[in-house]
């Protein structure tokens, strides 16, 4: 018998067969790539969530150090409730956010209508003016306003209002600052909503002899509502979240929550700050959930709203 090692008879290479184009190796590589991508995704979500989870966990730490978990305790939350300055700071934050949201939502919505529905001279400049506050970093905007309030003599000391025996500090400088960065965000969101709106309904209303005001009030405004609500929620969140601009535009002794937290962090790190952070975290989550709920509720056609 001849011992010639003949090459094993091979089937014709896969690539030669019609329709089959991928050699096995490419499939394996693609599979490995998929797994790596998934592993990377997993690691990234871990990276995003781990610090926050640890932050929340240590707000329940018994000891005042944040390097070792020594036991479960809610004493830091109790301490928070007794911290008068932090509680005042919370009210200040909410007050500033509420007032600046109302003002910037009205002004921003009007600007969005102007930009989306009208052509006028100076529109391009207006467009630039609306985008600038979004682009400019907050530290630059903060010192711009600091210098302005200082030079114009407007100042920073909150007005003291007395309503029914209650003393209310109105930090107009902080409110003005928040309105000036929030107008743009509201305008951009409402404008996007307006741009995506079906105009045939408005035309139909006009065909049915509704005057422009009635058309606006009964058709355009309800259809804009989800955009306006989303803009208002964003403004409220941005106002609550802001630290840098508030820090530079608030008068001495006036703290919002973020300014207070920054002050506490500078003094020393304790689980009390973790407790504040945890509450803020869940408050933000609540706001986001509420905003989604509202938008779903508002995202109906005006016909349904009539019923």
């Amino acid at each position: 018998m001849a011992t010639v090692t003949s090459p094993p008879t091979t089937a014709p290479p896969e690539t030669l067969r019609e329709g089959v184009t991928f050699p096995q190796w490419d499939k394996i590589k693609a599979r490995i790539g998929d797994y790596l991508l998934m592993l990377h995704g997993l690691l990234m979500y871990g990276f995003l969530y781990l610090p926050i989870v640890i932050l929340v966990v240590f707000s329940f730490n018994k000891s005042k150090f944040l390097s070792e978990f020594t036991g479960f305790s809610i004493s830091w939350y109790g301490e928070l409730l007794r911290d008068q300055q932090t509680i005042i700071a919370v009210w200040n934050s909410l007050f500033v956010a509420l007032v600046s949201t109302i003002i910037s939502t009205v002004i921003g919505t009007l600007a969005a209508i102007a930009m989306e529905r009208y052509t006028f001279r100076g529109k391009l400049a207006m467009d630039a003016l609306l985008y600038l506050p979004v682009i400019i970093p907050d530290i630059a905007m903060a010192i711009m306003l600091l210098v302005f309030f200082n030079l114009s003599g407007i100042g920073f000391t909150p007005w003291e209002l007395r309503i029914a025996g209650l003393r209310l500090a109105v930090p107009y400088s902080v409110i003005i600052a928040h309105v000036s960065f929030n107008i743009s965000f509201v305008a951009i969101i409402v404008r996007a909503r307006l741009a995506g709106m079906d105009r045939t309904l408005e035309e139909a209303a006009q065909d049915l002899y509704a005057n422009p005001w009635r058309t606006f009030y009964r058709v355009t405004l309800p259809m804009m509502m989800p955009g306006i609500i989303a803009g208002a929620f964003l403004a409220f969140t941005l106002s609550l979240d802001d630290f840098v601009i508030t820090f530079f535009t608030s008068g001495a002794g006036f703290n919002t929550l973020t300014v207070r937290v920054f002050g506490l962090v500078k003094k020393g790190v304790t689980p009390k700050i973790n407790a504040i952070s945890t509450i803020m975290l869940f408050a933000t989550l609540g706001l986001v959930a509420l905003s989604r709920l509202f938008q779903k509720g508002g995202d109906r056609s005006p016909v349904e709203l009539e019923i």
Partner: protein
């Protein structure tokens, strides 16, 4: 009067735009020009401001002491942008390749940390990274894995980490948008034409998603360059970035004109970047 208004849509447009225009004129544009004006003024003896035309503040920006901080800020912001891209693009790709329902869940999960207050997110890293009392170093020391604390805090590493953590979603979202907009049939066409997986990526996917990468890079670079909280908390008390130097000029050194010059420089860089971006986008669109 109302009928006159009704006949002139331009007047209506102005009327709607007026409140925003007036507000931003007074409380944004005027302050901006005051800062530009201040940047040419001189510092008074008691920390006040004396109006003059003094380009010396800008000369001081190039003083190595401050210019190095400028360069370092650009380096930190650049490194942050590159790392955000390296981490964010594959993540965006991963999310984009899931089913639509999965995608929404993953995007929401991406946004939740992003909605958390920036100061708090930075504080979270502060408690992890601190040299002697940070959780990471203490845990590693307790486990006996290291004998000396690692230099995780008060340096560029800590700042870049904090910024990457803060702005990663700003990179992922535009990349994700670009990848989902990809026409799947183009990918199939490429593989039908015997392109290897890597070729499909470099020749089809990458060029088509580049606009998303550029948009994401700008969204990360600009706030990183102007960072204030991150270097203030994770930089270990030293002025490592322009944001802190500006802060010091206004709140500690009381040299407002110089702080104004630094701010004007920073704003100019950002405006230039944004202008170039919008120009290129418009050119490509037309």
């Amino acid at each position: 009067m109302i009928t006159a208004l009704r006949k002139r849509p331009e007047l209506q447009g102005w009327l709607f735009a007026f409140p925003a225009a007036a507000f931003l004129l007074v409380f944004f544009l005027v302050p901006f020009f005051i800062v530009v004006g201040y940047s040419f003024a001189e510092r008074g003896t008691y920390g006040g401001v004396v109006w003059s035309f003094n380009p010396g503040n800008y000369a001081r920006v190039f003083d190595p002491l401050y210019f190095n901080t400028f360069l370092r800020s650009v380096y930190i912001a650049g490194a942050t942008t590159v790392i955000c891209f390296l981490l964010g693009y594959p993540l965006a790709y991963f999310i984009a390749m899931r089913s639509p329902e999965r995608r929404n869940t993953l995007l929401l999960a991406l946004m939740i940390p992003f909605w958390t207050n920036f100061l708090i997110r930075t504080y979270a890293w502060l408690t992890l990274l601190r040299t002697n009392t940070g959780l990471i170093n203490v845990t590693l020391l307790n486990l006996g894995l290291i004998s000396e604390p690692l230099p995780l805090f008060g340096n560029d590493f800590a700042i870049i980490l904090g910024l990457v953590y803060g702005w990663l979603p700003d990179m992922v979202l535009p990349c994700f948008a670009a990848i989902t907009r990809l026409d799947r049939s183009l990918l199939e066409a490429a593989s039908d034409l015997y392109a290897r997986g890597s070729q499909v990526f470099t020749r089809v996917v990458w060029p088509l998603t580049l606009p998303g990468v550029v948009a994401g890079s700008i969204l990360v670079f600009i706030p990183s360059l102007g960072a204030f909280i991150t270097p203030a908390l994770l930089g270990g008390g030293r002025s490592l970035m322009i944001g802190n130097v500006i802060n010091n000029q206004f709140l500690a050194a009381h040299d407002w004109p110089f702080g104004a010059a630094l701010s004007t420089g920073m704003i100019s860089i950002m405006l230039v970047i944004t202008l170039i971006y919008f120009r290129t986008v418009r050119e490509e669109a037309s």
